[in-house]
Amino acid sequence: MQAHEEGQLMRVSAIINGKPRVFHVEPRMHLADALREVVGLTGTKVGCEQGVCGSCTILIDGAPMRSCLTLAVQAEGCSIETVESHSQGEKLNTLQDSFRRHHALQCGFCTAGMLATARSILAENPAPSRDEVREVMSGNLCRCTGYENVIDAITDPAVVEAARRGEV
């Protein structure tokens, strides 16, 4: 346990998108801000900072979490995946490509959080029903699409296939 004085930076070491990283933050900074402003990964978005909109959803040790309700210092020793890790080389992965083919995004602000939750569903169940997808995605708000195309994208056969191979 490190002792801490106000204004003092604390050292955090975590694995981010597969790479061990060390960064320094004040305890009052949440993880979303740390990823965006300290680590420099702005793909994680901030829509409410109250844990409701889900735009900041990332995977921590494989589980979807609200990075706005996680202190950056709580990332110590964790493995974090942000939206920046999903593409393979310079190609969209199957889920991202499905989002594009189904027009599951407009302004794109909710997309990172959508992809994180979708990934966690598909990791548990490669072929969820539309109802199951609607249920699990209900914690991610989107103001543009009306959601249907998001459900289409997640239940696309190519995504199911990729999820079965463990590749989303």
């Binding site: 702005t42 409701v52 909109c53 302004c107 794109g108 249920e135 708000l141 009306g146 959601y147």
Partner: protein, 788 residues
């Protein structure tokens, strides 16, 4: 006028669902939104806002805040008043009261959330720390918290005005009394809509960088109207316009909210100039509820008289808007009732009309533009009353509408309010919608469900919509203004095409669809075209609002492209020894019409235009870059309809939208996939406004909804799968026959939901005329009815 010109183009890419080129960056975390921007030395601005609806500011003590480590500057009202009087909002409408919204409240605060002071510091957290150290002494004043109080006039919401009536206007005042007295049937309703927020998932934000060595200012802002913002910054901050550039990054949703000039935009420009460093303002969710505009709060006392066949004889509507403390810029408080009443007859023929629209000032955040603007409220009222009339006559909701719409043989038809319908599919929409719904089967389900304690309801809404909004539409709506929108098209030396537009996208897909238009205008593949937007360095326009992007884009890009296309044809004609009128460009080849063999690759002709002077015909203007303005010569009316089916639980009063049907006619669709995305998104927002969302001020003028816990927007569980069918009636006034549709669903889908709830409860003798329709409202309506 040249700006009315409709460029010819051959549709090829237009009409196809090209996948969006913006998606790749938006799916990989590589989108660049306003909050992602980083500049060297960037400082952070945070506002302290009024906790009272109406209060005199007796003193502001900023000494402790100023002394906090990391704080660069603290300003309150008088500091800013020296530099800018604020936002002047006016309208060329008789009797309209101009307002001036100060950047920071100066001596008096007129709504909860109005900025009283601003802190700039090395981080946003430290700026918030400092803001909490500011001591403000207020003397509370009585506040105007609703339209009744505003009209009573005992308290003045904004002491710079004379009374609270900002505008009172009437276009038609036929004598309806004899008609209502003698008509076979009359339906009346007192309709009310609560305030809502556009609630984009990305809040508002801006970053300003003033450079004293060049006296140039760059303002990055999440706006739908960059050209407009640049001119207004120049006017209200007294900075020469040519030294200002406005840049627009990717924008995380706008829906009208980002189509206003925000006081914060002025403020950070002034702060950056003062400090000589970049200043960043990124609001949080609570500030979006407190300080941005709200919308849709109108009351409509409407009555409809009809004969025994269900033909409408007269319509009366008294509409009043709760306008907030100031006029927003540029739409003003006229954005609701005033423009709403201009189209109150919609698609129907009504011979006698009496209407009045009133806007009143209240001590709330200014009312503003949100998708569908003031058209939604009247649509809700009218369509609900039409369904009610149909029930009273034993007609289906489809049939009564068939008997009243402007029919195919009627076009062109000018209605009592001066709107001329030239082309559209009103009647066909009704038929198609009926086919989609299959009402016979639904009525059976409805009757059977009562036994299970489920009230099912079907609601219908048929609409038309002004699109491609320009000078003519603004004049028709009674808010006269001349619009200006240019595009630049450059054919690059290698035959690629660079298009510059002042339209700013906030998710609606311009980057893809405008490329489709330009590609067809020049006869080249869409992949050879790039759309440049988001900088005021080139082209000038009003931006994206009022379902105008596709139309204004097609018109302006079409005109600019036709200028350079003519030059290519002129050169090709010279080289091919043919008249330039006989030259066509298609599939990347330039050839004589009907003789593809007698041709050259597009790239070769373009190369010659740039670099082979010997090939040029006499008097040839070799510039392959042109700019042109476009403004439609008349209204461009799109149309369509929505049908909603809802299920209300008789025990818990929970409402579920189980089915949604949409028919859309936006003329030629540029990209059907994107059009459907627009419809689905608008329907989701419609479900939100009618069943879930309400920004609430209490009796003291306190804002009691400032988080997503209190303000509920629809989720995956609130919006059903949606069935969509398309009709296409091309507009002769726009290249390709394109019409607009971005707002369509937020104009019409809310009415379908409200009508559906009223249909579900009709057998109980219950009506609900207020949105949102919450379980509490349903419970009360049913209770009050049982008591009677």
């Amino acid at each position: 006028m040249m700006k009315h010109e409709v460029a010819a183009l051959k549709k090829k890419s237009i009409g196809t669902s090209v996948l969006r080129r913006e998606d790749t960056r938006l799916l990989t975390g590589r989108g660049r939104y306003i909050a992602d921007l980083v500049l060297p030395g960037m400082l952070h601005a945070v506002a302290l806002r009024s906790p009272f609806a109406h209060a005199r500011i007796l003193s502001v003590d900023v000494a402790d805040a100023q002394a906090l480590q990391g704080v660069e500057i603290v300003w309150c009202g008088p500091d800013v008043a020296e530099l800018s009087q604020g936002i002047v909002s006016t309208m060329q409408v008789e009797g309209f009261q101009t307002t001036v919204q100060p950047v920071l409240a100066n001596g008096i605060a007129r709504f909860v959330g109005e900025m009283v002071a601003v802190v700039v510091a090395s981080s946003r957290a430290i700026a918030e720390d400092a803001a909490q150290l500011i001591q403000v002494e207020y003397e509370e004043l009585p506040a105007v918290t609703d339209v009744e109080a505003a009209l009573a006039g005992e308290i003045t919401a904004n002491d710079t005005l004379s009374g609270n009536v900002v505008s009172r206007f009437s276009r038609a005042h036929d004598d309806l009394e004899p008609i209502f007295a003698s008509s076979a049937g009359t339906v009346r309703g007192s309709f009310a809509c609560g305030r809502v927020s556009a609630c984009p998932i990305e809040t508002r934000g801006a970053v300003a960088e003033y450079e004293w060595t060049t006296q140039q200012l760059v303002l990055w802002t999440a706006t739908q109207m960059p050209g407009f913002v640049r001119t207004m910054i120049s006017m209200f901050c007294s900075i020469p316009e040519h030294l200002i550039e406005v840049r627009v990054p990717d924008v995380g949703g706008g829906f009208g909210q980002k189509a206003h000039l925000h006081p914060e935009e002025l403020l950070i420009c002034l702060l950056s100039r003062e400090l000589g460093l970049p200043v960043r303002w990124i609001e949080d969710r609570q500030e979006n509820f407190l300080g941005a505009t709200h919308a849709k709060q109108q009351r409509n006392e409407m009555a409809l008289a009809y004969d025994e066949q269900g033909r409408f004889l007269a319509l009366e509507n008294h509409s009043i808007t709760d306008g907030g403390a100031y006029n927003n810029l540029p739409w003003s408080q006229l954005v609701e009732s005033h423009v709403g009443n201009a189209v109150i007859l919609g698609v129907y023929k009504v011979p006698a009309v009496r209407e009045e629209s009133v806007a009143v000032a209240t001590n709330k955040s200014p009312i503003g533009a949100y998708r569908g603007v003031g058209f939604t409220a009247g649509q809700i009222a009218r369509e609900t009353l039409i369904d009610r009339a149909a029930r009273q006559l034993g007609l289906s909701p489809f049939e009564i509408r068939r008997r009243n719409v402007v029919k195919p043989e009627d076009f062109p038809f000018t209605n009592r309010l001066g709107q001329t319908h030239r082309e559209g599919t009103y009647l066909q929409t009704i038929d198609l919608l009926e086919e989609m719904v299959n009402p016979k089967v639904f009525r059976q389900r409805q009757a059977e469900a009562w036994a299970r304690g489920k009230y099912l309801g079907l609601g219908i809404s048929v609409f038309n919509e002004v699109t491609g909004t320009g000078t003519r539409t603004m004049s028709f709506l009674g808010t006269p203004a001349t619009t200006h929108d240019t595009a630049t098209v450059r054919i690059d030396p290698t035959g690629k095409v660079t298009v510059t537009t002042s339209l700013a996208s906030s998710g609606q897909g311009h980057e893809t669809t405008l490329a489709q238009v330009a590609a067809d205008a020049l006869g080249v593949p869409v992949s050879d075209v790039v759309i440049q937007s988001g900088s005021t360095k080139h082209t000038y326009g009003f931006g994206a609002f009022a379902s105008r992007g596709a139309v204004i884009g097609a018109g302006s890009i079409g005109r600019a492209a036709s200028i350079v296309r003519e030059r290519v044809k002129q050169l090709a004609g010279h080289l091919l020894e043919a008249s330039s009128e006989d030259i066509v460009i298609e599939d990347g080849r330039v050839h004589v019409t009907g003789v593809p063999a007698k041709g050259m690759p597009f790239t070769e002709v373009v190369g010659a235009a740039y670099f082979a002077e010997a090939a040029h015909p006499p008097g040839f203007d070799a510039a392959l870059e042109a700019t042109a303005a476009y403004d439609p010569s008349d209204l461009i009316l799109a149309n369509g309809g929505h049908a909603a089916i809802v299920e209300i639980d008789a025990g818990t009063y929970a409402v579920k939208v189980t089915d949604f049907f949409a028919v859309e006619d936006c003329g030629t669709m540029i990209n059907p996939m994107i059009v459907e995305g627009q419809i689905r998104g608008g329907i989701a927002q419609a479900i939100g406004q009618t069943l879930l969302e309400e920004v609430i001020y209490d009796d003291l003028g306190q804002l009691v909804t400032t988080t997503f816990m209190d303000y509920l927007i629809p989720t995956t569980l609130d919006v059903p799968d949606i069935q969509i069918r398309h009709l296409e009636t091309p507009s002769p006034l726009v290249p390709g026959g394109v019409k607009g549709m971005g707002e369509s669903a937020m104009i019409s889908a809310p009415a379908a939901v409200v009508a559906a709830v009223n249909d579900a409860l009709a057998h109980l003798g219950v009506v609900i005329e207020t949105v949102p329709i919450t379980p509490e409202r349903i419970f009360r309506s049913i209770q009050e009815r049982s008591v009677q």
